[in-house]
Symmetry: C2
Subunit: 371 residues, 2 copies
């Protein structure tokens, strides 16, 4: 690919039964008035952001939206996964109702995955559904929450337990915002990008291996390609199974172990992408122990995850019965059925499968990966 | 119609884009194992009820469900519209998560409209959607929440502001439960039944006028017909406009004034159906003042509403500026757009229209109806 040519915005079309929308990927989109010209007419727009992102980009977005909406409101939430809860969600409803926002009000999610998930669920639920636009400001959110319409908040007993499938009107992936992203969050985004290799496209995995240095250097054209290809693969999977009754579950590769880590350490200790990075290595290990892939494949994935700046050694979650604690946490995962953990495993390079595994084998993998 | 013949259960089919389901109307359905035989397989069922209904019917339902589900759980909520809020909804999520309920768990709403709305919203949101069954135990819930998939909770600043469109798998209208219904709630249910006359079917209004005494005497065949015809009309309207972007709004005849009364007096003072009963008379008045219907039509409706045991005189909501208070409350209604109140009016007998009206005229109607 040519990384030196000027970047034209790329559009990825998401085709879903209910409705379609597009993802715009490019530089300088967020503050550009023309980015928003296809949106449905309304009097009011509410930008939802957080204390970290709002000071950086809210004014720019607000100005661009003022060309289209007579009232542009801003609600700033506290930052972090610990605030992905009902009391914080309530702040969005309070803002909407105290300003008398009607059913046509458009919500704009300006921030990472937490802001996107909460704004999406608020949009799904406010008056039983108002339009919303995703403006993801992290690499992870750009590749992950852009496609699929999953919105949710956490419950004290489990992550993402309360939510809705709800599609945005438009997703804007502005490459400029990635330049200010902390390195740790860049790596977290790369975890979700790497994921698409093992589960669906080994050519893409080859490309990521080759391009990892320019990706880490935040070269816009490389980032644009990584985001585009990730969104395309995700759209292809989601298009076959919008409500996750079957194949869509493969997108959770690395997430079963990853969620256990995130939840076991307490939300906010590891980033979601860090949990997924380490979780992919663990799931690959489990796949190998089940005879589905070679040891060399596990090693290749482990090296790439490590090069991306992600943890590959799993944390100890309990001094007494570490593997038991992992198993306990994984059993409350949404993919579990009747207490049986459903693992997303690699069934040969580029192909994923969802299946159960014997507890003894899972314990071995946990012991090996925590050592 | 023959009111003396033995009652066969009646099925009303609801056809919607996403999926279809049926409403069963008959005597003795709730405790009958065969009522539930078409439901999707699952290990666990959670019955959600309230402190008033659970002692009457939960054991019966639980026993019938035990033939089909290995775990049948029960969550009992406090009774009343004041508890249609987030903390009470949370009790359902707590029950689901503390019992490790998975995505196949079926929720059963056993109670009136509040239990139905909350259980429906919990089902829509738990793990982004689990199946649910409505077992409405009030006449109002049988004709109102059976069709349409509206679920919601209240927000301190407005009624039904947070919710989802979410369809049940099955609705069971057991006529036996209506025999224990307090008279005031029977009347409240009749309000929603009467509604279908003016907005859609004057023959049905004739039938209600003729049958009101047997309806008030809770004659099962008459109740079955009233429920069936109400559900059919509602299904016909909702089928054209599932998400209430147009014609569906006519189902809110009487609700704009009614909600103002409910909310202005404080939820729980007037029953929802009482607000709707009085609200229909007010909306008919407004229609007449706009030249849409004759005075005789308003009087006919007023008499029927009064005969049904419903209030026809509107309450004073403010000693200072009563009409102003009504207007203020109606402006936060979900149907409002940019602060303009959208009234459902009668545009000739059997035909409804949604439109705005001059404040001065609305004030006249409020003054006349409160006097």
């Amino acid at each position: 690919m040519q990384t030196s040519s000027p970047l034209e915005p790329v559009q990825v079309q998401i085709h879903l039964a209910e409705r379609s929308y597009s993802i715009s990927i490019g530089a300088g989109l967020l503050g550009n008035v023309s980015t928003y010209q296809q949106l449905p007419p309304a009097n009011t727009a509410l930008i939802v952001s957080n204390t970290k992102v709002a000071p950086l980009y809210a004014a720019q977005l607000q100005e661009a939206l003022q060309a289209r909406y007579s009232n542009v409101l801003l609600t700033t939430l506290p930052d972090g996964e610990t605030y992905k809860d009902w009391p914080t969600l309530q702040l969005i409803f309070d803002a909407l109702l105290s300003h008398g926002c009607d059913r046509k009000t458009v919500l704009f999610a300006l921030g990472g995955g937490v802001v996107g998930d909460m704004t999406g669920f608020a949009a799904a639920s406010y008056m039983r559904g108002v339009p919303f636009v995703q403006v993801p400001t992290t690499l992870l959110a750009q590749v992950d929450s852009s496609v699929g319409g999953k919105t949710a908040i956490n419950h004290p007993l489990g992550k993402n337990m309360i939510g809705a499938f709800y599609q945005p009107q438009l997703v804007i992936c502005d490459l400029d915002v990635l330049q200010t992203l902390p390195t740790r969050e860049l790596s977290a985004g790369l975890a979700e990008i790497i994921k698409y290799g093992p589960i669906a496209d080994m050519n893409f995995l080859d490309w990521i291996e080759t391009s990892l240095d320019v990706l880490l250097a935040r070269e816009p054209a490389a980032l644009a390609h990584a985001i585009q290809r990730s969104c395309e693969i995700k759209a292809w999977v989601v298009g076959q199974d919008e409500r996750e009754t079957g194949i869509r579950a493969i997108l959770n590769f690395g997430h079963t172990f990853g969620h256990a880590i995130e939840s076991g350490l307490g939300y906010g200790q590891w980033l979601h992408g860090e949990g997924v990075g380490c979780g992919m290595v663990m799931a690959a290990h489990l796949s190998q122990r089940l005879g589905l892939v070679e040891k060399s494949f596990v090693e290749r994935l482990r090296q790439l995850v490590a090069r991306a700046g992600l943890p590959v050694k799993a944390p100890i979650l309990s001094a007494q019965d570490n593997a038991g604690r992992y198993l306990e946490l994984m059993r409350v995962d949404k993919k579990s059925e009747a207490g049986e953990i459903r693992f997303v495993l690699i069934d040969g390079p580029g192909r994923a499968v969802v299946r159960a595994a014997p507890d003894a084998l899972v314990r071995e993998v946990i012991d090996a990966c925590c050592a």
